[in-house]
Amino acid sequence: MALLSKKDANLILDPLADNNPITIQVLGICSALAITAELKASVVMALSVIFVLGIGNVVISLMRNIIPSKIRIIVQLIVIATLVIIVDQVLKAFAYELSKTLAVFVGLIITNCIIMGRFEAFALGNGPWRSFLDGIGNALGYGVILIIVGFFRELLGSGTLFGFPVLGDPIAKTGLYATGYENNGFMIIPPAALIVVGIIIWVQRSRNRALIEEN
């Protein structure tokens, strides 16, 4: 990437793999469990978090020298809440059905620990451009996992991707269903997301042994 220096590029690339907020830092798990039953919801959730974290990091970074440290958490919450409300209203205006599926979880982006974590750990100590890259990077790392989990859960649980029946029609018994295949109801329920995330963590750590903690 000629556009970015190597150091800046790492701000985006690190959270995608070796410092992933979900699989390595184990943050933001609740939303990963709740909304990944459908790929579409995962994608929208990922986009929302990219928006909130990207903008939020810049805002906090710009204000970092004037926020009194005693009340910084409250200031951060206000910034997040503002951005989340924007996302929520946009979804309600342009994708009402989807906003009903995501229900309370858009609002709960406020409590997503990744966002508060990046504000605290990065934006309060870095300039706006680097904070922006860091925010985008971490949100992308979060989104990638959400989309992987959503992909497997929707494919195996409902036999669809983005709502399209890719495996055939389970009622008319066409496609793969003609051979006796059936959707796996287990993948629809939230514990399945926990197991899929667990498997991703397992695969990642067995490929990169440096990630395994000593204990």
């Binding site: 006796g180 059936e182 796996n184 109801g185 287990f186 329920i189 197991i195 397992w202």
Partner: protein
């Protein structure tokens, strides 16, 4: 000794040495130790020699399961033909030598249950072998029992590919991720059952799946019933089985769970061979009876009306809960799993009691889960280490107290005692 006169045993040892350190060594060793005792001995330290190693333990459990398996062959066939007779308007009564122990019944059951058994062992052992080769450890014996339990706790018509998927899931997620046999938190056989139940509920519950072909025949002129006793009770319907039928197992249900009589024999065998804990079995029976009595009491007091959807199950004689459904099978063969159960004696009483208690509770309160026993055992598997922790801590505290009362300590040590006590909290 000339080369030709090498015995099989000797030859296998030669192959073993040539494979040492190679990737395939664990796979070979697994077959080898299945046939012969290994030729290695440990070289240092003192050892207690016992004949009851892990393999012997597992084989004893399998021995205790064999009568149940053979019975399941006959019962699968019998239930199928009995359901057809019932649909044709000529209900059967069981006659052990007349219409139960027949070649016809055996053959149908055999051809239905054997594929389940083969898939269970084939897939499960394959996963174990793959993990052993990748991780470079010996193949563990844990799957020998699990593989036998799995076909016995599923409905007879479970599609084989579903069973295979569930076995892969159960062995990998239930056992291998925790480090293999002896490290698992959940009973692998029940993990497989739970996976099937939540993934493919239409094949695992309802009023059709318990008798061979009942699902396929639904809606046709040859439709037959596949309802279990618990299923009938959940709908406040009557059932046509006598108490003796329930006890000896001439009722529909999961493949091997029906015969409380043979399970009882197997349980006694396990208790007398000291493989399974009698404390867990006894306390689980007590727990189930207590919960059953409470429900009977509630029904007798008239707190639930006859029209209530709980009435059928609540008014069911409390002791009959033990002989229908999977409760007996679960208590004898699954709750007593030494790896996932409580380890302390007092812990075993609590653990077993709650299994029985919660099983009957789930059964009555959620008729959609007639097999509450598998959920109850999995739940208690999770709590077993916590129970042990508190049992041990209570014991430590009791002994500290005794020590404090019994010895006259110098003043200086009194503080030390406080410290010890604080550590245990």
């Amino acid at each position: 000794m000339s080369h030709k006169k090498l015995t099989l045993k000797k030859r296998l040892h030669i192959i073993k040495h040539s494979l040492r350190g190679k990737k395939m060594a664990p796979a070979f060793n697994a077959f080898h130790t299945f046939l012969f005792t290994p030729d290695e001995t440990t070289h240092s330290g003192s050892h207690v020699r016992g004949a009851d190693d892990l393999k012997r333990t597992m084989n004893t459990v399998i021995l205790a399961l064999l009568p149940v398996l053979v019975f399941s062959f006959f019962n699968t066939g019998y239930q199928f033909y009995a359901a057809i007779d019932a649909a044709n308007g000529t209900p059967r009564t069981v006659d052990l030598f007349g219409n139960f122990l027949t070649w016809e019944n055996f053959w149908l059951g055999f051809t239905q249950v054997l594929p389940l058994l083969i898939v269970s062992y084939g897939v499960g052992l394959l996963v174990e072998f793959i993990f052993a080769v990748i991780k470079g450890h010996e193949v563990e014996e844990g799957y020998l029992v699990t593989g036998m339990l799995v076909p016995l706790i599923v409905p007879v018509d479970t599609p084989l590919w579903m069973l295979a998927v569930a076995v892969v899931f159960g062995v990998v997620i239930g056992k291998e991720v925790f480090g293999g046999t002896g490290m698992n938190i959940l009973n692998p056989a029940l993990t497989i059952r739970a996976f099937l139940f939540f993934a493919y509920p239409t094949w695992m519950s309802g009023d059709k799946v318990w008798v061979h072909q009942a699902v396929e025949r639904t809606g046709t002129a040859d439709a037959i019933s596949g309802e279990t006793i618990l299923g009938s009770l959940a709908q406040n319907a009557s059932y046509s089985y006598s108490t003796a039928d329930m006890f000896f197992g001439f009722i529909p249900g999961s493949v091997g769970e029906t015969s409380a009589f043979l399970i009882l024999l197997g349980g006694l065998f396990l208790v007398f061979s000291k493989i399974a804990s009698w404390r867990i079995m006894l306390s689980a029976v007590i727990g189930a009876l207590v919960m059953g009595l409470i429900f009977n009491g509630v029904a007798d007091m008239g707190w639930v009306g006859e029209s209530s959807r709980f009435y059928g199950l609540m008014s069911f004689d409390f002791w009959k809960h033990l002989i229908v459904g999977g409760l007996a099978f679960g208590i004898v063969y699954m709750a007593t799993d030494p790896v996932t159960g409580s380890q302390t004696n007092r812990g075993k009483w609590i653990y077993g009691f709650l299994i029985g208690f919660i099983s009957v509770m789930i059964r009555v309160f959620n008729p959609a889960y007639p097999e509450g026993v598998f959920l109850a055992i999995l739940l208690m598997n999770v709590f077993a280490p916590t129970i042990d922790h508190y049992v041990i801590r209570a014991n430590v505290r009791k002994r500290l107290k005794r020590l404090k009362n019994a010895t006259i300590l110098p003043q200086a040590d009194a503080g030390k005692m406080e410290e010890l006590q604080a550590e245990t909290v």
